[in-house]
């Protein structure tokens, strides 16, 4: 390692301000790098540029209204956020969601996982110089966004999962669109792998870069594919199954190397597993059946009933004016979002508004590992390391 000597003989390092508007920081992240030549001596991560006070805002909304702000945290996986929050409130209410809604939830969150991993793959590849992968990934993601638009009316801020079930009955013909995805996507994944998996430049930029040992990863609370790339098989879907995940047959890809390449392989394999789950879900979803729990006073009544039944009209009015009040207590619900363990802590004081809503977001915790991954390595590897952690700044700053 070379150090710059000042005329007085003191060692001199340079501080480089990377971000907050640097394209490879995937949002507004600022990293203060203390450099000795091209070597990173110290990396200090500065976040908070996108802080919008979502947890505080939730305390002023009713339980149903708060669903909409969960979308805005992880904007690449809004349905995973919806799911974590809805499951937490349902746990608080001891509400049983109909199987049909549970399977549709599984199907859509797995499509979300693929969509999110596609954005990750595209942006990570473009950071490291592979332009065309980015264009292919976004082409495929468009198909998924069209499905989300079809079922919920929104491409990104879906708010499709509601407390007790789903917002709407999915439209006719939506399963054909999903079947198209199941049929075409595996060969598209092969195309990305053709471009990258054995590409010598890709291997040189990712193998042995951004090393994270299993011990460090667990200590730092890393989760999701970033943890599984270090040889730990922790996946919430397997460890604490929710929304009927225990009825699905799928593998959790694990690699032991702990470098950027291992995490890349994990995520690509995970997309293939997600397709497997989507396929099974398509077979499981009954053609007909309720999509909302039977819980008067919590789940809004059907429109037709409001025209004929007095109680339905009263419940409708009460739900949309004052909301519903779960019993006092606290619950913590974890789900496996595309980025890792997404935890939702909801505390109720018996009023119609959450007393406290806390989101344990995986990006926030995973980003802590960056310092460990880059210190002592080259500055070019900082970009690969930020990319491989798959961070979403909206979720970090909340």
């Amino acid at each position: 390692m070379t150090t710059v000597q000042t005329p007085t003989g003191a060692e001199k390092t340079m501080v480089l301000n990377m971000g907050p508007q640097h394209p490879s920081t995937h949002g507004v992240l600022r990293v203060l790098l203390e450099l000795d030549g091209e070597n990173v001596m110290k990396a200090d991560v500065d976040i908070g540029y996108l802080h919008t006070g979502i947890e505080k805002t939730a305390e002023a909304l009713t339980y149903s209204q708060a669903i909409t702000i969960t979308d805005r945290m992880d904007y690449l996986a809004p349905l995973s956020n919806n799911l974590a929050y809805c499951l937490a409130v349902e746990k608080l209410l001891e509400l049983e969601v109909p199987k049909r809604a549970q399977y549709i939830r599984v199907l859509l969150t797995e499509l979300t996982r693929i969509g999110s991993h596609l954005v990750w793959l595209g942006t990570h590849a473009i950071d490291l110089g592979a332009m065309s992968v980015f264009l292919y990934c976004f082409r495929e993601r468009e198909e998924l966004l069209k499905i989300f638009e079809m079922v919920s009316g929104q491409r990104m801020m879906t708010s499709y999962f509601r407390i007790g079930g789903l917002a709407l009955e999915p439209p006719a013909g939506w399963t054909e669109r999903v079947e198209d995805v199941v049929r075409t996507f595996p060969s598209r994944f092969d195309e990305y792998e053709d471009l990258l998996t054995k590409n010598r430049i890709w291997l040189a930029r990712t193998q042995g870069v951004g090393m994270l040992s299993a011990e460090d990863a667990i200590g730092l609370g890393v989760s999701g594919p970033s943890l599984r790339g270090s040889g730990v098989d922790y996946d919430v879907r397997k460890y604490f199954p929710y929304s009927s995940y225990d009825e699905f047959d799928f593998e959790v890809p694990v690699r032991s190397e702990g470098d950027c390449y291992a995490r890349y392989m994990c995520r690509v394999a995970e997309m293939r597993e997600s397709i497997k789950i989507v396929k099974q879900a398509l077979g499981k979803i009954p053609a007909e059946g309720p999509i909302k729990a039977d819980a008067p006073g919590i789940v809004a009544p059907q429109r037709e009933k409001m025209k004929t039944e007095m109680e339905a009209l009263i419940y409708h009015f009460k739900i949309y004016t004052e909301g519903f009040a779960p019993p006092a207590g606290e619950v913590y619900q974890r789900v496996e979002s595309p980025r890792g363990e997404l935890g939702c802590f909801v505390a109720s004081d018996g009023s119609p508004k959450p007393y406290r809503m806390r989101m344990r977001t995986p990006s926030f915790v995973n980003l802590q590992a960056l310092q460990k991954m880059v210190e002592g390595h080259l500055i070019a590897d900082v970009i690969a390391s930020i990319g491989t952690l798959d961070i979403v700044l909206g979720e970090i700053d909340r």
């Binding site: 802080h51 505080k56 305390e59 667990i218 200590g219 922790y234 606290e330 935890g343 406290r356």
Partner: protein, 159 residues
């Protein structure tokens, strides 16, 4: 309704009781989740014990989060969500802190992940963590006044 199991039979509770009975000031079981109430001075030793015990192996700290019960005293609550990967079990530790001078010993040496969680809680609740190496504002600007997640801080902002 989930049946309330015999909480004393829980391996974590039994082990803690045998190790240091005064480290548990109460147990709460709600919706299938077990919460151990811990007096402030016992949190750090208890954390070390739960992480180090070969059988319990709470090696993973999922989350640390604060809560403000204003105007009830003790006003603040800290919730530590622990996870044991080998036993597929989770546990919540809860510490109550008085409002006049909320501070507690850091658990960073036990679980390094607590670093950012504690900083965030300091930033938004104003709870200090003794021994934290870098207790600065995190999400808010460094010259921000007040602690937004406290209940006496208006949702619309300070002005």
């Amino acid at each position: 309704m989930t049946e309330t199991p015999d909480l004393e039979q829980n391996p974590a509770v039994a082990k803690i009781r045998a190790w240091r009975p005064e480290a548990v000031s109460g147990l709460v079981f709600f919706r299938g989740e077990l919460t151990v109430l811990v007096p402030r001075e016992h949190l750090r030793p208890l954390a070390e014990f739960l992480r180090g015990d070969k059988q319990l192996a709470f090696t993973y700290l999922s989350d640390v989060t604060g809560m403000d019960r204003f105007p009830i005293e003790p006003r603040f609550e800290l919730n530590y969500h622990l996870l044991s990967m080998s036993r597929k079990d989770s546990l919540r530790l809860r510490v109550a802190l008085a409002g006049d001078d909320p501070h507690i010993e850091t658990v960073i040496p036990v679980w390094p992940t607590a670093n950012w969680h504690e900083r965030e809680i300091f930033d938004l609740f104003g709870i200090r963590f003794d021994g934290h190496p870098n207790l600065r504002r995190m999400l808010l600007p460094e010259d921000w006044e007040g602690y937004p997640l406290r209940k006496d801080y208006p949702t619309e902002g300070p002005r």
